[in-house]
């Protein structure tokens, strides 16, 4: 196994008395697309700024290719940032913006530079815009120039701070694909910060989920989506029904739990390991879109009464009352039966869509 490109080791950061980053440690592999995902204010941008050198860390270490860079000034680190608002130099035209890095570092001759600028401009599909001023460009175009300006330095790591945040939905979707392609094409390591889980799941090789300055989970989009490490991740990623259940029995393969009056089996390979003992209350989290409604009684299902049917474009959201607990089911088509409000139905789920999580102290029922 190859050595990690960048290592963060128990990083702590305080602003005054508030503890912004709490013992953050993770590795970034060469050539991967890693996303830092979390709600706003969780510290993900601060991590990025610490890597870039725009913020100091209070304790811990940052190693780039095995060497500590924590005391290096930003201009001495071979990482570059694409800022949230692009931060193009307003008084310089596109060419001079892109050429800025090599020029201040005097790393190449003007002739060589001209060729390099042409190369990166082609890479971001902005050839021909060299003479424009930043204020003559649209948001998406500025975005590309900001990426070109960073990429021309051939950084070990490209840091992107919510670069798509200011764009409209359609352009954002398009740029997601573009960015992912660009990353594969340039084989540059991307560290991407976003609060948009869809963006993270679409683009990344690996995701680091952060909340309140703490690392919650790290893994592939699939792992993060299907096997959340804790309640926070389960609630933050995807739409889930999150319910308190009673653990009745636990064996090698299945956990038997009770929700309301229904007793159901949950496959244990999908459960988060925890010190569960029978009789304890735990959390059951099931993806809304991995559930099915059928009119007939089926084994290992929850039976309840349809309370509300909501047609939202391509999907149908149905609320089912199961012994006083509301379960929301998202379907893309009617599967087995035509049900109406008030009908008795059975709700089943794909085994991979359901997980059991340990109870946390302040765990409320966030989508009751």
């Amino acid at each position: 196994m190859q050595a990690p490109l960048l290592q963060l080791r128990t990083i702590n950061k305080y602003y005054g008395r508030s503890h912004i980053l709490k013992d953050i440690s993770f590795d970034i592999m060469d050539g991967e697309f890693l996303t830092l995902l979390g709600p706003s204010g969780c510290g993900k941008t601060t991590i990025l700024r610490c890597i870039a050198g725009l913020e100091d860390i209070n304790s811990g270490d940052i190693l780039l290719k095995g060497r500590s860079i924590k005391d290096l000034a930003p201009n001495k680190r071979n990482v570059n940032t694409v800022f949230q608002n692009y931060a193009l130099f307003p008084h310089l035209n596109v060419y001079d913006n892109v050429a800025y890095g090599p020029r201040v570092k005097k790393s190449m001759s003007e002739k060589e530079l001209r060729k390099r600028v042409a190369d990166v401009m082609e890479l971001v599909q902005m050839s021909g815009y060299e003479e424009r001023m930043p204020h003559q460009l649209s948001g998406g175009q500025r975005q590309r120039i900001a990426i070109a300006r960073a990429l021309i330095n051939e950084p070990d790591i490209l840091l992107l701070d919510e670069p798509l945040g200011a764009l409209d939905l359609k352009l954002r979707k398009y740029m997601q694909t573009e960015l992912a392609q660009l990353q594969k094409q340039t084989k540059t390591t991307f560290v991407y910060v976003t609060h948009d889980q869809e963006e993270a799941l679409n683009m990344s090789d690996r995701i680091v989920v952060i909340s309140e300055g703490e690392l919650q989970q790290m893994g592939s989009p699939r792992e993060i989506y299907n096997t959340p490490a804790n309640l926070f991740v389960a609630d933050f990623i995807g739409d889930r029904n999150i319910k308190k259940v009673q653990l009745l029995e636990k064996n090698q393969e299945y956990c038997k739990v009770m929700l309301g009056r229904s007793i159901i089996d949950i496959k244990c390979s999908e459960c988060v390991e925890g010190p569960y003992s029978t009789g304890e209350t735990t959390i059951l989290a099931i993806h809304m879109d991995k559930m099915r409604i059928s009119c007939d009684e089926i084994p290992n299902s929850l039976s309840g009464e349809v309370r509300l049917i909501h047609y939202a474009g391509s999907q149908i959201r149905t609320e089912v009352d199961v012994d006083g607990e509301i379960i929301t089911v998202v379907e893309y088509q009617r599967n087995n039966c035509d049900y109406e409000i008030g009908d008795k139905v059975s709700v089943s789920w794909e085994e991979s869509g359901a997980v059991l999580l340990p109870m946390e102290e302040d765990a409320g029922e966030s989508n009751a």
Binding site: A52, V79, N80, G101, V104
Partner: protein, 263 residues
């Protein structure tokens, strides 16, 4: 909207400006009057202007005024800008203190300032004249430059400076390639303002002027003792035009720079 109050407002505003500018207009008018007395208008003439340019003392004073104004403007532009850039890297509290000390020279009464400068330069044994004029004028021009440049600096997006750092620029490179170009319009406007302020100053210049180096306003003041001649009217008209040109030019610069970067 009622038209009556509107008409009244326009009338009031016009009256206001007429009263404000009539004295100024009368100076211009009488500078073209044939009669040396302001009592009557006897006809149009350019003689007073001709007289003006033949008066060697006035031309000499004018040259000194311009020389002092330009020197003052350059000196205070450099000092004021350096001070403003310097405050980028200090704490909020430190900045407030610096601001206070910076603006103090504007609050000290000019008469007091003049006396203290007189004592100070005498103690230093500096010869009164060009040098003392430039130094004392810079004293009250630096604050203007400092304030104007600092305002502009505050408008610069912090992430632009971070981006430059991130792309590998050292501190001096950031100042040279990013900060100075962005604040240049403000520096130019402030310099022009400094020229105008320096050209205009009477009180401090009266203290600082040497036996052979009198600035134009000080000379005008001494001419007045004999009485207002149309020559003074002509001189004032020229000063007026000069000031308008400077102010107009500075407006032009700031307008152009605003257009350029409305991101």
């Amino acid at each position: 909207m009622n038209t009556k109050p509107k008409r009244f407002r326009i009338f009031y505003l016009s009256l206001f400006f007429v009263i404000l500018y009539i004295p100024v207009l009368s100076v211009i008018l009488y500078s073209f009057n044939q009669s040396p007395s302001t009592a009557q208008w006897t006809g149009f003439t350019m003689d007073w202007y001709k007289d003006l340019f033949q008066d060697r003392v006035i031309v000499e004073a004018f040259k000194i005024s311009i020389l002092v104004a330009v020197s003052t403007s350059i000196l205070s532009a450099i000092l004021g800008t350096a001070a403003a850039i310097g405050t980028l890297n200090v704490t909020k509290r430190m900045e407030k203190t610096i601001n206070g000390v910076m603006i103090l020279p504007l609050l000290v009464p000019e008469v007091a300032l003049g006396v203290s400068l007189l004592l100070f330069f005498t103690a230093l044994k500096l010869p009164f004249g060009y040098l003392t004029l430039v130094l004392s004028h810079s004293l009250f021009c630096v604050p203007y430059v400092y304030i104007m440049v600092q305002l502009r600096l505050k408008e610069i997006d912090k992430s632009i400076i971070e981006a430059a750092k991130d792309l590998g620029a050292a501190k001096w490179q950031i100042i040279k390639t990013i900060i100075l170009p962005l604040i240049m319009p403000s520096i130019l406007t402030a310099s022009l303002l400094a020229v105008a302020i320096s050209l205009d100053d009477v009180v401090i210049s009266t203290y600082m002027a040497g036996p052979t180096s009198t600035t134009l306003p000080v000379h005008v003041f001494s001419m007045m003792r004999v009485g207002v001649t149309p020559k003074i009217n002509a001189l004032c008209t020229l000063i007026l035009v000069g000031t308008f040109v400077i102010v107009g030019f500075s407006q032009f610069i700031s307008k152009k720079s605003n257009q350029k970067e409305s991101i």
